[in-house]
Each structure stands twice: as C-alpha cells, then as structure tokens.
Amino acid sequence: MRYEAPATAKAAAKLLLGAKGSAKILAGGTDLLVQLRSGMKPPGLVVDIKHIAAMSGIKKERGGFRIGAAVPSAVMGENKGLGKAWPGVVEATGLIGSTQIQGRATMAGNLCNASPAADSVPALAAAGAVARIAGPGKRRDIPAEKIATGPGKTSLKKGELVESIFLPKRPPRSGDAYLRFIPRTEMDIAAASAGVNLTLDRKGVCTAARVALGAVGPRVILSAKAAKALIGTRLEDSALEGFAAACSAAATPIDDKRGTKEFKTHVAGVLARRAAVIAYERAGGKP
C-alpha cells in the first residue's frame, strides 16, 4: 500500500489517475480505516487530502460558504457564521460519531462514503448544497445528492475527488433542520432521518421548501411532493399531517436489523414533521 500526501488538488487528481491498481482518497479516515481493519482489500494507493491547503478551510463566497473537503466536523461546529446560516447542516455533521470522531470526520467523506444512512447528506441535499469536483479535466459543480448513486457507490470518475462543498446564500426568513432516529442517544446509525430547509414570506407562509429523507432508500430521497405539502402553509397541524404522510409515502425502506419497513416508513414521517417545525421556527415562523 502506497501512501501519498499531495499539496494540491491537481496533484491528487494526477496520482489517482495514474494509479495502477485501486486507489482511495483518505480524508478523516473514520470510514476508510475502519473498513480496512475489518477486512477490506487494501488499495494499492492511498491519497491523503489533509495536506491540501485549499481543501482545509471554510470560506465565505457570494454570501454562501465554501467548505473544504478536508475540514473536519469539529471545525465546522466552531464556525459561528456557518452555524448561524446553516444550523441544520452543522447539526447533522455534528451528530457524526463522538467528539473523537468529529475531530477527524469530514462532510465530504460522509458524502463520498455513500452510506444510505450518512447523517450530513439529507441536510446537504435539503440545503441545495453543491459539490465541486476536481479531476484531470476542468472543475465541475454537481448537486450534493448526485454524488452517491447507491450504497458505497459514487458518480465520481477515476481521478476525480470532491474539493469542496458549497452552501449557497439563502434568502431572508429561511431555516433548516435535520433529525435522525437512533434507538440509543449516541454512537449509533440512523434508522431513518430527515432534513428540511424552508423559506417563509413576511406572513410566515412557506414559499419554498426542500425535503430530504435518509436511511429509507438506497440513497438520499429528495421529495418534491413532500415539499409541496409545506408550500403555501403556515405548517398548521393539518398541513403537517399531510406533510408527514407525504414523507412516509416517499420512503422506500427495507426490513433489516435496524427496523421493519413499517417502522422506518412511519418514523421518516414523524422526523420530517418534527424537523419541519424546527426549521419553521428557525426561519422566524411562529408555531
């Protein structure tokens, strides 16, 4: 196993492209190292991105935030501006693992590991986050929800890597929230999760919404139908009931050790409803 720690994204892309056998990007390693220890075939090349300066910071850009791919969750949690603008995304990333894990775990790693239960992904999808991909050719931007194509699979091509994730400027009276269901209080994996991001008009009526469900399908589910159930409402009980039902209808979970289909379907609706109420209050709406 060869280990490289290049200083630029270009150099990283070059190494990845030139690799003869399999190659893996190493960000925080909280997925990769665990997988290696539990019997995954070691890759021929490991490219550590933590020495790439351009990937290691959080920058303001056009009123939004550009978060480097090597930025650990703990650093995101300490950025006050980011926390104020995108509390749901920061919270979601803050749920990953424990204090120790958060000193290493990155949002890009969470995204590229492509677990259906990844915590930051529904929040990113709801936020309309955009991943910037570096590679052999020109940089390109794609929506965060387009990275994972199925469990453990991404749309990235050989030589490509996520360089940063961009959270756009948001209109006034906007709020987001993320909730997951775990049987315990900590150190667990979501059986269902929901991210909600919405914008209100002056009267507290929802004018725009994005709703994403996690762990209830092979990849994150962005439900326009569920979002529609919020738009035009003040999140009255009846609207929320319809919304929860729409979310449950959008969920496509499987029966497994983490719960039955029925359970996950129901809880996806419950969580989305609770997250919507939090997002609504964050946007300045009065319940």
């Binding site: 539990s38 269901f181 049987p183 315990r184 209080t185 900590e186 150190m187 667990d188 994996i189 059986a191 497994d256 050790k257 983490r258 719960g259 039955t260 029925e262 359970f263 129901h266 809880v267 419950v270």
Partner: protein, 748 residues
C-alpha cells in the same frame, strides 16, 4: 457468631488495582507477548448447520510462515463426559452447528500470513436445514441437531430424537386446586431474545507448550483452574503439567466461565513448538463465545380478590445454543422464589438450536423467568387496584417460607427491600405524560464452593493475601479490607494477589457471586490462623502459655493481669523476629464453603415512551437489595448499578438478530446495542444488610441478584407508559410502536 462491629469493613478505600488500570500498567489478555511468538487465527463456519465432509489444509500448510494448522483431527474426544461438548464446541467435528463454529486454526509468523492461510483452507460443507428459534426447535419436524438425543425427564420416556435435551420440574402443592380457589387468573406468554454479556475485553490468550510436555497458559478468564482442568482434559495432559495464569480481566459477567480459544492455542503451540497468541475479534466474540439463552415462557397465576396468590405456574423453554445445558432449571427454580406459595409448579425445557452454546450471564436464567412472572404479578396487582409493592408484600417469602424450589428460607431480606422501596422518595414522585413506573423483585441463590487462600505475614509487618479467583468486581479491595480488619492493620498494609494454578490449591471459578463470600471467609480464616500463630510466637517470647495471649488492635497482648505484665507486641514486631521464633508466619484456609446466603432485590424504574416512535427513555432507577454485609459499599453499589445497567440494555435494545440463513446479522457494537452512558440515568442504590448466618461477617453475594429484576421492572414501566402490555424483549422502538399502534395507543 456474626461480627457486627467493624473498624474497616464498611468503609470505601481506593481500589488497589486502580492505579494500574488508569495508567495502563494493568495487563489484560492480549497485553502479553513472548519471544518467537506466533499469531493464530480461527477459521469459522459460515453456515448455521452443515456436515463437514472434508477439510483440506495442505495449501495453507505450504504457505511460507505458517507453522501449524489444527482441525478436529488434532483433538481426541475426551473420556471425561463433562468435556465432550466443550471439545465439540471448541472445534467442530462431523458437523458445524452454528454460524461461527470453529472449523480449523492456523498459527503463523504474522496475522497477515495467518489471514492468508485461512483463505487457503478448503472445507467441503453439506449445508443442512437449521433452526435458531426456541419454539421452532421444539416443533415435531424441526431439524435435529444431535442424532440420538432423547429428552431426559420426559414422561413417558422419549422414543424419538429431539432438540429438547431435558425437562426439569419444580414445585409443591396442587396448582389445579389452587386455581379453582382463585377469583382472578391471568395467563400470558412471553418471549425474550438472546443477549451477550458485552464484556469489553475479547477473549485472549498466550499458550507456550514446551518440548517436555509442560505448558504455560496466560489468559483472560473468570477461573484459571477451570481453564487448566478443561485444557488438560482436552489435550490429554496432567493438570500439574499445565500452569495457567489469569490476566487482569476486562469484564466477564459469566461469559468467561468456560474455554473457547485456550485449548486451540495450546494445540497449535504443541504442534508448532512455539508460543502462540490467540485473540478473538469482536465479531468472533459475538458469533462464537457464549451469549444467553433466548426464551419462550407461559405464566399462569391465580389470586383472590384480596390479592392473595392461590396458585402459580410457569412453563419455560430456553434455547441454549448448540449443546444441552441452558440455565432453564435456574429459571424454573428462581422465578417464584420471592413468593410464599401454597401451590406452585414450574416446568423447564432445555432446548438446543443452531446458535453458539450459551454461557452464564449474571444469575443465569433468572432474569428471563422474572420478566415473565413479575409481568403477570404486576398485571394482577393493577387488576385489583392494589399497589404493586403492597401486592408483593402481601405474598412475600419470609424466614420460614418453603421456597418454590424446595428448601425453606432462613433469614432473608425481601420484605426489607419492599418496605424500603415503599417509603423511598422515588415511589412518591409524580409522573408526567407518557411516563410509567415499574417495580419487580428478583432472587438469586448465591454460591460458595472450593476455595483456597494463603495469607503471608511479611518481615516488615505487611501482609499479602494470595487467592485464586480473578478479580472481576473489586474483590481484591474486599479481601484487603477483611484481612486488615482481622489483623488490626491498616488497609494499605495488605496486598491481595491472584496466584497462578501452580501456586495455590484449587479454586472454583469467579461465579455464583461467590468470591466476597467464600474467598472472604477463607481470608478471614487464614488471618485468624496467622493470628493464632502470632499469639503463639508472643507466648514463646514471653514464656507464657499460648492461651494466655489475645490479639487486639493489631497486637498480641497478655490475656489479663494473671498472664503477666508484658508490653503488647505489634504484628510488625512479631514478624520481624519470626526467624528466631519458628520461621515464616502464614495462615491458610482450604475448604468447600457452604452457607452462601440467598439474596433478594426490588427494583423501581421510571420510563418515558415516545408515542410517535416507540422509543423508551429511562428516567429514574433505584435498586434496593440485601447485601448481608457490604464489605466495600462502593463496590456493592457498583454491582447493583451494573446489574441494572445491563438489564436496561437487555430490556430495551440488545438482541441477537439471525437472518433467514441462520447467520448472525449484528456481530458488532453498532447494531448490537448495549446502552451508552447517555442512555442511563444515575442509578440510585439502597443497600440493606440482613446478615447471612453462614458468613463470619454476614456477607451475601451481591453480583447477580441485581440483574434479575430489571427486565420485568422496565417492562412493567413501559407497559404502563405505553398503555399496552409488552411481552417480547427487547422492547426496541419498532416493537413498542407496533404494540401501541395495534392497540390504538400510538399517536399515528
């Protein structure tokens, strides 16, 4: 006579092993290495049930760096009957009986080489139908695990092969008559899923087998004498040719009371002629150590309108894995033990299934029975509008009660725990919406057993207690306290060490809550013997009869003015002159300890249930338990809290989940959910002390009773909060939500 006035016993000094554990100096199973050591790995069956047609190890043996490969061919079936199943469990023979059953093992120069070697071993399996559920295993056409196994205790005698190994019955009176007298009868069925002790340290050992057929074994175990005897039997050795040293132990809870990897490491070391280290991964611990039984139980209890139990009956079925020996008889014996019953009858079915052979887990078998029985007790109390504690008090077993399993109780503390819980602030605190409070009682026998202790007086007046029971719950602190109490020296002057098997007589395993009781008693006796010798030495110096010398406050003193006027001699002074008064001074005790006092507990717990998700949060928990005498109260509280904490896991989220293919789906701590710290409230404890007449200080074992009531107490609380009776453990969110919705209780 039971001693009641103490200087040191009952205080809370620092634990003697604390510094080692926080600084990392303590050596656990995997912490030791030897020059030239090899690393071993075990190949395990991926099938729940399969005939092993052939095993070809030749390609593995040819791999450079591989020094030994062992299979069933390297283990002769032992003559000792009690070792036959252990042998079959340690290494599969004709059949693999569960997912994870060991099939071959390799010792190589590195783990990497060993891993590669495992891949080169070719095993030809013929996959057979399997069964993992207890009720399914008892069905007439279930796949049979053991050809020729006939149910022992069946009436009429069994004529066909069965997965039911044995039927146990207990009770007295006439339940048919008793039920006829009842005004109200409740009958219910319950299920529990298998759990694992969840000790944090995986099994690990280092075996060194010499060319002279003498061997040393270092391992993490609850009983190194047991390991010695089992390994010697399996390898055809004489016990004294195998010396076993117990490492520090990172938890066991009963799960380390048998052997899994130790005989394999020895066999590999014998074959390779080199030290062999073998460490289980967590995945292996889950798949191939000894989890608990899963169970299915029917309970029927009848009462009068006034709340007196007229008859009680339970049928218990425990699946104990691939070999006979589930603790169902303990379930059948203990479940009704808290009650004074005229008519009681229990039947226990010991069932085999395609799962790892169960091992002990704190009060083996009792929590499952208590869950079912205490649930029905709770329901009956509510049915007649009686406080569940009052109901239990009305029917409680007392001194003189003929127990449900036979013997008549001596002085016991059940009533005291119930009365104490009735007046505790917890009982009187208000509950909020979606909250419920549950109580339950629990009983455990406790045990004594063979014990050997030496106590050596050092030349400078310090003391070493040498015992042979791995310290799993702070027992070294308790031994130091008891020795210091007897000798009249400060706690810090005593050091307790756990000797290897060659250095001390036989000791039974650290189990049955026996150590503070039995080893404590031996320590006290050894100290008293040393005191007698020291009195003799003083008498010799003073030239008076030994009877004229007494031991007080750490000194030998003349018994009275008649004996003479001598300045008392301290322990250190006597020790310092021992060389000229007769030589080294030690005390010993070698005995089979009888008189272990039974122990009862009552638990009280508040929970909240989220009506939208079925998630249970434990809000408040109080344990009331009789300790006889708490030698080191902080450790007693630790045992109470530990039992309750493990009970919370068992009740709410822990469960072995098998797929259709008979494979374990969750062999890791991510999906096998033991509680994390934030899942638990502070667990409050109330220690009651009703002395056990069988111990010089009144000690009763406390380690196991504490896990008996929690499953039931929590189920009773959840049932109240959810508005529906929960009868299947664990009460994981999907199960609770489903039960609520089916009863129209969930906020759908």
């Amino acid at each position: 006579m039971i001693k009641t006035k103490f200087k040191l016993v009952g205080t809370r000094p620092l634990r003697p092993d604390g510094v080692d554990k926080v600084t990392g100096r303590a050596r656990f199973g995997a912490d030791i290495s030897a020059p030239g050591m090899l690393h071993a790995l075990i190949l395990r069956s991926p099938h729940a049930h399969a005939r092993i047609k052939s095993i070809d190890t030749s390609r593995a043996e040819k791999l450079p760096g591989v020094k030994a490969v062992v299979t069933r061919d390297d283990f002769k079936l032992p003559e000792r009957e009690d070792l036959v199943d252990i042998c079959r469990n340690v290494m599969a023979r004709e059949k693999a009986l569960y997912d994870g059953h060991a099939v071959a093992a390799v010792a190589a120069v590195s783990k990497t080489v060993a891993r590669e070697a495992l891949k080169r071993i070719q095993v030809e399996y013929q996959v057979l139908p399997h069964v993992t559920d207890v009720d399914a295993a008892m069905k007439p056409r279930a796949p049979i695990l053991h050809k020729g196994m006939r149910t022992i205790g069946a009436e009429p005698a069994a004529k066909k092969d069965s997965n039911v190994a044995q039927i146990h019955t207990f009770g007295h009176g006439d339940v048919v008559k008793g039920f006829a007298k009842a005004d109200i009868i409740i009958e219910r069925s319950f299920k529990t899923e298998a759990t694992h002790q969840g000790y944090i340290e995986p099994h690990a050992c280092l075996a060194t087998y010499g060319a002279d057929d003498r061997a040393d074994l270092w391992c993490c175990t609850q009983g190194h004498y047991m390991v010695r005897n089992a390994c010697a039997g399996l390898l055809g050795m004489e016990v004294s040719h195998l010396r076993v040293t117990a490492s520090e132990i990172g938890g066991g809870f009963g799960g380390k009371t048998t052997v899994f990897i130790e005989p394999v490491a020895l066999a590999l070391s014998r074959k390779a002629g080199k030290p062999v280290k073998l460490v289980m991964s967590r995945d292996e611990v889950f798949r191939a150590s000894g989890p608990t039984s899963s169970s299915s139980t029917d309970v029927k209890i009848g009462i009068t309108k006034k709340g007196k139990i007229t008859a009680a009956q339970a049928i218990l079925r425990y699946q104990g894995g691939a070999f006979p020996g589930s603790p169902v008889q303990f379930g059948a014996m203990t479940g009704f033990a808290p009650y004074d019953l005229e008519n009681v009858h229990t039947v226990g079915y010991d069932v085999v299934a395609n799962r790892p052979k169960q091992a002990a887990y704190r009060a083996p078998g009792a929590p499952l029975a208590a869950f079912a029985i205490e649930s029905v007790i709770d329901e009956l109390a509510h049915k007649i509008g009686m406080d569940p504690l009052e109901f239990r008090l009305k029917n409680a077993a007392r001194e003189g009660t003929k127990s449900s399993y036979g013997p008549t109780f001596g002085p016991i503390g059940l009533e005291a725990t119930l009365k104490e819980s009735k007046k505790h602030p917890h009982h009187l605190a208000p509950l909020g919406p979606n909250q419920g409070r549950g109580v339950a009682c629990g009983f455990w026998f406790n045990f004594g057993g063979q014990t050997s202790v030496s106590l050596n007086i050092g030349e400078d007046g310090t003391v070493s207690v040498v015992e042979g029971n791995p310290d799993i719950g702070g027992s070294r602190a308790s031994m130091c306290l008891m020795a210091a109490e007897e000798l009249g020296v400060p706690y810090e002057k005593v050091r307790t060490v756990i000797a290897d098997t060659a250095s001390l007589g036989y000791n039974e395993v650290t189990d049955g809550s026996r150590v503070t009781f039995a080893v404590g008693m031996a320590t006290i006796k050894a100290a008293r013997q040393a005191i007698a010798i020291m009195c003799e030495r003083a008498a010799k110096i003073w030239d008076i009869p030994a009877e004229a010398v007494v031991w007080e406050d750490g000194c030998a003193k003349p018994a009275g003015s008649n004996a003479g006027n001598f300045k008392p001699m301290t322990l250190a002074e006597i020790a310092g002159s021992a060389g000229s008064t007769g030589g080294p001074i030690s005390g010993h005790s070698e005995a089979t300890a009888d008189g272990a006092g039974v122990s009862f507990a009552t638990h009280m717990v508040d929970v909240e249930v989220d009506p939208d998700t079925g998630k249970v949060t434990v809000l408040r928990y109080t344990v009331f338990q009789d300790a006889g005498k708490a030698i080191h109260p902080a450790y007693v509280e630790g045992q109470f809290q530990g039992g309750a904490a493990q009970g919370v896991g068992w009740a709410i989220n822990e469960e072995y989940i098998y797929g259709e293919d008979g494979r374990l789906q969750n062999p890791g701590f991510l999906d096998y959910r033991i509680p994390v710290a934030s899942d638990l409230p502070m667990i409050d404890t109330v220690i009651l002390e009703i002395p056990n007449p069988g111990h010089p200080y009144g000690v009763r074992g406390v380690g196991e009773t504490s896990i008996v009531p929690p499953l039931a107490a929590i189920a009773n609380a959840v049932s109240e909060a959810a508005g529906v009776r929960l009868t299947h453990l664990p009460m994981s969110p999907p199960r609770v939500l489903k039960a609520m919705m089916e009863n129209g209780k969930g906020a759908a």
